[in-house]
């Protein structure tokens, strides 16, 4: 007999402060609180540390702490290891998790420091001098054919393919309608429009409510092909083929049938109540040639007017794959590191498969340079970008721009509790339950996400100015502006950075 496991969190209610208004009961979708006569009862076992009750309590009466572990302490057989075994011994099932990798790997970003100017090359003041963060994503020619006409005018003879122009190198990554609520999507789409950036639709199709923002949307084609038709492709500003995802490299996706309500059914073009399964592979892609064919097919379908991106998860041979993608007509390669978020993934994949985005971007950048084609394709980094410093470091390691996911959700209130897969998100984000979805005001949410992007953009301008650089292009791949702090020599070689002091 295994018996019940100890609860993870402990909720306390200060009886002096509590006025028994019941807001905690209304707000907790996990059933932690209930009323017992004139008292509020707490069932800490149900708590996910989503903080909704704390945020909504008018009297600050609620406290939350991690429950001290009562297992015998052991360096190898941690609480998580043991509880996973107990759960699997009981159920015989794969354990699911939401959000990104929850293991304690060292964060490489935190062991890289940025540079600043002193005296000999002046730092720039973004308040008084232009600092350009405008970024273009897409294919570029290696060289230009410019001819001078009689009279001196210059004629551009090289035909450029369409690029996406963003006013900040921060974009919002793909989170599908299904994984997150429509209100959350609308909030982020409005934020993308306000800040001059783009947002991914995820593989959930493009809901009619997003049509007003379609010129800021990147539509996704995943293996399930949900919601994909010519109208969908034509509405997006760009198209992204999803091969892999950082949180679950090598596996597909699954939206349970019970979540497929009428609205999602229409948007994804699947029967109501049926499971939406994206297989691990695209069943028409078993080689780089097949991928190139799909890229070409999508371009052909949209008359070569839209950039096509390809997203892959960061894995050990990511550089060679990216080089293959670069040699197809694809315009950008998106590399999603192993800290990328997800609505639901087997915990074993989320926590153990893939590599960190920092190393992946550096090795992709190196491979593309070795082949002399780095400048012909854009590289987008995603998976665990937490702030403007991470953005700057990712760009210095070779990215053109980044996608954020969890950070955008956090801007709307998400507390990264990691229970997205249960569909009970009390913040109205990772849920389809109408009463919970209604909690997220798209206007307010969009302002918060837009504020976040604006704040990071301002910080990026300051970081660039401090480094004496007035254009983001000159930070891209600029390893001289980075130094490794307490990184081992092998990793510094992969990242191509010098140690601090050198």
């Amino acid at each position: 007999m295994i018996g019940s496991l100890p609860s993870r969190y402990r909720i306390g209610i200060d009886p002096v402060r509590c006025m028994e208004c019941g807001r905690c009961i209304e707000n907790c979708s996990y059933g932690v609180f209930s009323r017992d006569g004139d008292r509020i009862q707490v069932n800490s076992r149900n708590c996910t540390a989503c903080h909704r009750c704390i945020a909504c309590c008018p009297r600050d009466a609620i406290s939350l702490e991690e429950h001290p572990c009562d297992y015998r302490s052991h360096p190898l057989w941690t609480r998580e290891a043991r509880e996973a075994i107990y759960n699997q011994a009981r159920t015989g099932k794969i354990i699911l998790a939401g959000m990104g990798n929850a293991l304690d790997y060292p964060v490489i970003f935190d062991r890289l420091v940025l540079d600043a100017c002193q005296v000999t090359n002046p730092s720039l003041d973004p308040l008084r001098e232009p600092i350009e963060l405008t970024t273009h994503l897409g294919k570029r020619p290696a060289r230009l054919d410019l001819r001078r006409r009689e009279g001196g005018d210059i004629e551009l003879r090289t035909r450029l393919t369409p690029n996406l122009r963003i006013e900040t190198p921060v974009m919002i990554g793909h989170m599908s309608y299904g994984a997150i609520s429509l209100n959350a999507q609308v909030a982020m789409a409005r934020a993308a429009k306000k800040t001059g950036t783009f947002m991914g639709t995820g593989e959930g199709g493009l809901h009619a409510a997003l049509h007003p923002y379609q010129d800021r949307m990147i539509v996704q084609v995943a293996s399930g092909r949900f919601g994909v038709n010519i109208d969908y492709l034509e509405r997006g500003a760009a198209i992204e083929i999803k091969i892999g995802q950082g949180a679950k490299p090598g596996i597909g996706g699954h939206l349970p049938g019970e979540k497929v309500c009428a609205d999602i059914s229409r948007t994804r073009m699947i029967p109501e109540g049926s499971d939406a399964i994206s297989p691990a592979p695209h069943h028409d892609i078993y080689s780089i040639e097949d991928l190139a064919q799909l890229v070409r097919g999508l371009k052909e379908a949209t008359e070569w007017k839209k950039p096509v991106f390809v997203k892959i998860a960061a894995v050990h041979n990511v550089a060679a794959i990216a080089a293959g993608i670069a040699r197809s007509p694809a315009d950008a390669v998106v590399v999603d590191g192993f800290r990328g978020g997800t609505g639901a993934a087997p915990t074993v994949f989320r926590d153990h498969v893939g590599i960190p985005i920092e190393a992946a971007i550096a090795s992709v950048d190196k491979k593309l340079r070795d082949q002399g084609i780095r400048n012909e394709i854009s590289v987008i980094a995603s998976g665990g970008i937490r702030g403007s410093a991470d953005v700057a470091k990712a760009i210095a390691l070779g990215a053109d721009a980044v996608y954020i996911g969890t950070a955008a959700l956090a801007a709307m209130g998400c507390r990264v509790c990691g229970n997205c897969y249960r569909g009970l998100c009390p913040w109205g984000i990772a849920t389809q339950r109408p009463d919970l979805v209604a909690r997220l005001d798209p206007d307010e949410g969009s302002e918060q996400v837009a504020n976040l992007i604006r704040a990071w953009t301002l910080e990026l301008a300051e970081l660039l100015g401090a480094a004496g650089i007035n254009s983001i292009e000159s930070l891209r791949g600029n390893r001289d502006r980075l130094r490794g702090y307490m990184l081992d020599e092998g990793l510094m070689q992969v990242l191509d950075v010098k140690p601090v002091g050198a």
Binding site: I154, D370, G468, E473, S474
Partner: protein, 351 residues
Amino acid sequence: MCGIIGVMDRSRRTMDGSGIRQALSMMNERGSGEGAGYAAYGIYPDYRDCYALHVFFDNVRENKPLLDSTLAQWGTIEHDEAIPTYGRPNLRAVHTPWRYFFKPDPSLALAGSTTPEDDIVSALVMQVNAARRGALIFSSGKDLGVFKAGGWPEDVADFYRIEDYEGYIWLAHNRYPTNTPGWWGGAHPFNLLGWSVVHNGEITSYGTNRRYIESYGYTCTMYTDTEVVAYLVDLLVRRHGLDVDIAVRALAPPYWEEIDRMPDAEREWNGALRLAYAPAMMNGPFAIVAANRDMMVGFTDRGKLRPMVVGECGDRLYISSEEAAIRAMEPRVESIRMPAACEPVIGRVVA
């Protein structure tokens, strides 16, 4: 810091090196005695058709045979000799400067090469310098030569007896290294084939520029940001065939805001230039003077964070960090102006 000066005579009348020595010395406040150098065009009329390879040997006896055999594999050494030098009390000779007059065999270039001789010499320079076998080729153009060393401008000039050379374009540089070591290879001018470059400032985009240029087969070996400028100019002008004023626009482009305001056709090519050559764009404070056998060009960074003064007198065009340096060389200078940021100043030889 650093002081630069360039002078060209549009009608190819030559000047000896005494004037530029004096002009460069005028800017000693801009130097620290850790490097100075001169580039002169038109100085080897007897070997006009040969590539003049200027080499620093760490040890002639040990390092030269290897270079001789490498060169012999790729062409013919018409003549070679030690570059005449004259001991100076303040200048410690850590390398032996040597010069080869070399004719590559164009049949050995890669198929499809449009400039086979240049391609062979450029590849040789990269190969020899990257091998670090005690030989550094620091000048490789026809009928031109770079003379540089660690020391003050006067000492370097006297070490090579610069006044004995007659050239129609001269570049000179007084170095104040703040980011990288002061050593002979790190002194300016930097040269590759016909292009020589002197630079006052720091290129904060060096990491980006370096990774870009290295993906085209160039190897940066001289520990100095200016080295990439010479290679970038070679790539854009010689290999990609851009006009020099367009190449300057790729290296120091207008802001997107300005591009957005341009008329359609102009906006189109300026935007394309920024997209295609984003990693070649140079950031940070700089004033640069570059020259090849037919022209001299000067330009600054987009914020004009380093000074650049242009003077003219008859057929002569002067570009310098300081007006005083120009006046030291040409007291009767007829016009002095300070170009706007990024505005290229181009002088072409007409004769």
